[in-house]
Symmetry: C2
Subunit: 237 residues, 2 copies
């Protein structure tokens, strides 16, 4: 937690208040903060602040803002990813958010086990977003969209995410073209499930404006691939 994210209603009048048990525990136990210490705070969808702790009790920390700055810019990336196994979902959302992805789409695909869509962890996406924002020191949640049918998404929705200024790439180990790097424009990045997209899916993506590109011979885990690809594409941002 590199910033404590607060709802705007906790910061409307001085002193500002932290009363979330998870945040209180982190500040007291992990940071071992005491009154007088400074604390980095972000207001959801707002500015980042350096604050000072003016009072602490068991269920409440009170803060005085000292100075402010705007949140870091997002990366101009739309990340479309085949729904991962539930235990991967938390890290994937958290990492994508902390890397600064603008929009995340969770998509069904042939090799996605249908049971993944029943996972109770899908109801906790907002919590994972909060963890990612607090890790990165960001305040602005990305847009998250869920599409449980591959073909209608690719044919009806995806084309609106693709343009000459914002090309779309699907990572595909058998593509001849290699993935570009150091782009000076936004991109849409599409990542398949464990085992990859099936040939029909790759063809449908290509028919709808997506370029299949290779990352070389190594096969990476989904989360590893996402940060590797964003480092590669977004090195000018």
């Amino acid at each position: 937690m590199n910033i404590v994210l607060l709802p705007a209603e906790h910061c409307q009048a001085a002193p500002w208040v932290i009363d979330d048990p998870r945040q209180l525990q982190h500040i007291k136990q992990h940071l071992a903060a005491v009154p007088g210490d400074t604390l980095k705070v972000g207001i959801r969808a707002g500015q980042r602040y350096l604050t000072q702790i003016v009072a602490m009790s068991e269920h409440r920390i009170e803060l005085q803002p000292i100075s402010s700055q705007p949140p870091a810019a997002k990366l101009p990336i739309t990340l479309i990813v085949a729904m991962p196994r539930p235990k991967v979902l938390r890290r994937l959302i958290m990492d994508s958010v902390s890397l600064g992805v603008e929009k995340i789409v969770l998509l069904h695909s042939y090799r996605v086990d249908k049971s993944y869509w029943q996972s109770p962890l899908l109801l906790q996406l907002d919590d994972y977003v909060t963890l990612g924002l607090e890790q990165a020191g960001d305040t602005i949640a990305p847009q998250i969209e869920i599409f449980k049918r591959f073909k209608p998404f690719v044919e009806d929705v995806l084309p609106s995410y693709v343009s000459a200024e914002r090309p779309a790439f699907v990572a595909h180990p058998y593509a001849e073209q290699t993935m570009p790097f150091a782009c000076n424009h936004g991109c849409t990045v599409i990542i398949g499930p464990e085992g990859g997209f099936i040939p029909y899916e790759i063809e449908l993506l290509e028919k709808n404006g997506v370029q299949a590109v290779s990352l070389g011979q190594r096969i990476l885990r989904t989360e590893t691939a996402i940060s590797y690809i964003l480092g590669r594409l977004m090195s000018q941002f």
Copy 2:
């Protein structure tokens, strides 16, 4: 597991033999392979093979090699990382190996909890390397070195890892220079612990030929930072 990694002694005479319980379980349950199916196999420190399953029993699978190819090239990266929390260690080693890092150094630093060096997981590094190789489809283990004292390492060992052709970079959020990208040469990359290196450590690294460079305002988890940085630096490889 995108390749089944076998010791050379299992592949000296036909048929080749898989008898490792973890690998047998993966092939039978996850891949649901049957005799006649093909299977990707790598010989440790050797070639990669497409093989055919010629016999299966409870404790043994027999293979016939069909064709071979060399393993993917490593990335010319020496990764020096402050010893992470034990639960992060497994993923960190596995990801670094699957990304193709040539050499990994685990290093002590002021903000590394001394208890991390007592973790029994440190004895399982070889297993994590195997998982990373099997994920990536690689056969060649990286070199792994462990240094439990920061200053002697930085002053006596590190300079031999740094040269004009292989510059060293430490990721440091307060550096003015930003990290380069799309290098056409090898690099040494140094990643601090949770909370970062202390100023004394950054100074000592800089005195010994390391450039402190920033990745922007976002603070990433160690594992996320590693793959993001390698994607950024190594996009020409």
